[in-house]
Subunit: 445 residues, 2 copies
């Protein structure tokens, strides 16, 4: 992929922690965030970018006249507590990236005023209270992993796991925007209606089959006018950046409620997002050709075809820490590792399809990818899949295989006190590592 | 139902048109709206209530100190272009209703300053450009008519039309908030993927099966905190009022895309709402006991049970005017007339169910009822049902019966130029007629 000077791996920052080869946040990344810091008992949300183990206070930097080419009027958009206004202005994110990178470079001379500004604008990441960086008016969740759709489908239809529309339509549904919460927010176990297979009637009570789903999400930059589709060749200007999404799912609620109109209360009690927006600019070196279609798969319809490389090489990992593990000082255990390169539909296709009927996407909207699962069992992005053993010779599902934890505990689904920790990162020879940070959430009863 | 003095049918207004027995907007109604009026080439959105054939400019009235008990600080919420801030304050809508009704009463003495204020604050409804009265962050659509679910289900499963969860779960799904448009907005015919039964592959193009759905919607007043369900006994404070909703549906897109995650592009290209919020205060006299359960139907689970009368006696009508009919000066033709009293799930149950897993509803959110259909064919609230003739003795669907129009035209689905006009109203002996106004939309190609 074409990359610009902002990806030069030799660039270093005067923020030393950003030069550690293992950091998720080198000067080539600079993900966007919104944060609060206690100051004299008060705190106000500011915009920031992450650099090493620090947050650069972008709002403070803007007040100093260092951003937006010194245009004070334009720089006022950086005084807001959310990135929405910036995100809606094409080109501004790219300009800010260049300006902020310039400010952070180690090879720039630093006068006394600049040194004071550096001190003033740098906040320890550990002391920053991270907020949602964007207001999402609408949230859509897709189902873009064929591996996920096939495995889940095989639980209901062993002989015919994939529905006929799957290879033609990037299947998606509307989620709940109000219950998107930032990483670290405790997740209350939802109650709801469930019906056991052998019960005559449903009952209402706490979910017994609480699960996570490892996804990535793309945030919308500029939107489209109602009635005006987005052509796939124009899709780049509508992408702001990406984050990790945990689409918490109550499988027992889902099974009973989902026909005929899809998931509802099984999903809308909470969706966790990582607090950083990794910009499309930072992800540029990790774009790869879209996935090859499987044998027998049809070509996508014309509106979904593009020769541009809209695959993304992003590794995704899920870890689990139970209360007992934490109490014993044990590290979280990795449950899976997958890659976004295994997705069947690309983010370009998801956005194009979403707007193909004229539906208007708005700045800040979040589009989740759906569970990211790969071809191997250790790449499955939810417990529903990880514990699935397939169908036996008698045509019936084999018993599920619980996850074995180092404490001797086992898990088919999440228990109260369990913390799910997701991370994601990009690696490529000749480029710095670009991390997404973490998306965490602990289940409370 | 208990009613207060604001429903007294003998109350008259000095706005003469409000005293016409046939008006939708007597002094007992006072629905909320947001409007713009050209003034010296400028226009700013103001809040209003409808009275007869006039809009009372509530923002102007607030500036005069006549509202909120003269509390200027509180009255600032009436300077906003949307009702959201007012709606989130329990009791304020009821207080404003009483104050505005008092201002509009014919039996109040009118000094010269009051007469001037009356002149200044009254705008002809025909000259007001009506906007969406509320910003809805989230929009949910339900499926609360058992008649609708049964008829539609019979098209796919003649022997077993109603799914087993229907009588237990108020089925709903998330819709698209961004594409909610006010009455009068032209509706662009959506394109999308469809697949003919006899085709090997899908194709992309304009929908050939465009339909409307006649619904009512309820707007949320105060919301609930994430993780905290709403008990059915507490549901009233979360209800602001109601409007007409046209859930435009592309049936051919829907058929191909909806499995397994529900309707998406078939619905999210546009949802029209009437421009007035008929408050729950105005609807109070038209509350009736909830629907009797059918023979063999289970009692709802405990969290959905209430002895309060949450049925609503609202008549709903759909009219159609084709371009040819309009060109010939013909009146729109009525396609159906139904009643909200025939719904299986009440709005109290919809709200309670929605929040039962802790999902946070927010002020301004819109909950659509789903298509309102009744037991008779002329009470069916969409073309998909109106043209359905059932299944023949051979077990196959009979041919659909097109709607016959006075021009000699016929319709199975909507054609470009067709205008759909919905209205709704409440009537009860001893009370004034309470109307919802109209929800209109014309199809453009």
């Amino acid at each position: 992929m074409p990359t610009d000077a902002t990806h030069d791996p030799s660039l270093k920052s005067w923020v030393e922690s950003a030069n550690d080869p293992q950091t998720a946040f080198p000067i080539q990344n600079l993900p966007l965030c919104s944060f609060e810091q206690e100051h004299d008992g008060h705190s106000h949300p500011h915009l920031g970018v992450v650099i090493g183990d620090r947050v650069l206070d972008v709002t403070t930097l803007a007040m100093s006249g260092k951003l937006c080419g010194g245009d004070e009027q334009l720089a006022r958009v950086l005084h807001a507590p959310l990135w929405n206004i910036v995100a809606g202005q094409p080109g501004l994110v790219r300009q800010l990236r260049a300006e902020i990178q310039d400010f952070l470079r180690s090879d720039r001379p630093a006068s006394q005023p600049i040194k004071r500004l550096r001190d003033k604008a740098l906040v320890p990441l550990a002391e920053a209270r991270l907020r949602k960086p964007l207001l999402s008016f609408d949230y859509t969740d897709f189902y873009a992993s064929k591996h996920h759709a096939t495995t889940v489908g095989s639980m209901f239809r062993p002989d015919n796991p994939l529905l006929p529309n799957y290879t033609h339509v990037p299947i998606g549904y509307h989620g709940r925007a109000s219950s998107i919460v930032p990483s670290g927010t405790p997740i209350r176990r939802p109650s709801g209606q469930t019906k056991a297979d052998d019960a005559a009637l449903p009952a209402f009570g706490p979910s017994k089959m609480l699960d996570y789903e490892m996804e990535l999400g793309v945030f919308i930059a500029s939107g489209n006018t109602l009635g005006e589709p987005i052509r796939i060749g124009d899709v780049r200007e509508h992408m702001l950046g990406m984050c990790i999404v945990n689409d918490w799912s109550a499988r027992d609620l889902q099974k009973w409620e989902y026909q005929p109109l899809g998931p509802f209360l099984a999903k809308n009690f909470a969706t966790s997002v990582s607090p950083f927006i990794v910009t499309m600019e930072a992800l540029e070196p990790f774009r790869i050709p879209g996935p090859a279609r499987g044998e027998g798969d049809p070509e996508p319809l014309g509106y979904l075809q593009t020769s541009e490389p809209w695959g993304l090489d992003v590794a995704v990992e899920v870890h689990l820490a139970t209360k007992q593990m934490r109490d014993k000082g044990m590290s979280p255990m990795r449950l899976s590792r997958g890659s976004f390169r295994d997705m069947y539909w690309t983010i370009a296709q998801l956005i194009t399809h979403h707007a193909s009927n004229g539906c208007n996407l708005q700045t800040g909207d979040l589009l989740g990818s759906g569970t990211i699962s790969g071809p191997t069992k250790d790449a499955r992005g939810c417990l529903l899949e990880l514990t699935w053993e397939g169908v036996g010779p008698d045509g019936k599902p084999k018993p599920r295989a619980p996850i074995q934890l180092p404490t001797g505990e086992t898990r088919l689904f999440l228990q109260d006190g369990d913390e799910v920790i997701m991370n994601a990162f990009c690696e490529r020879d000749g480029f710095r590592r670009i991390g997404f940070g973490e998306c965490r959430g602990v289940i409370v009863g």
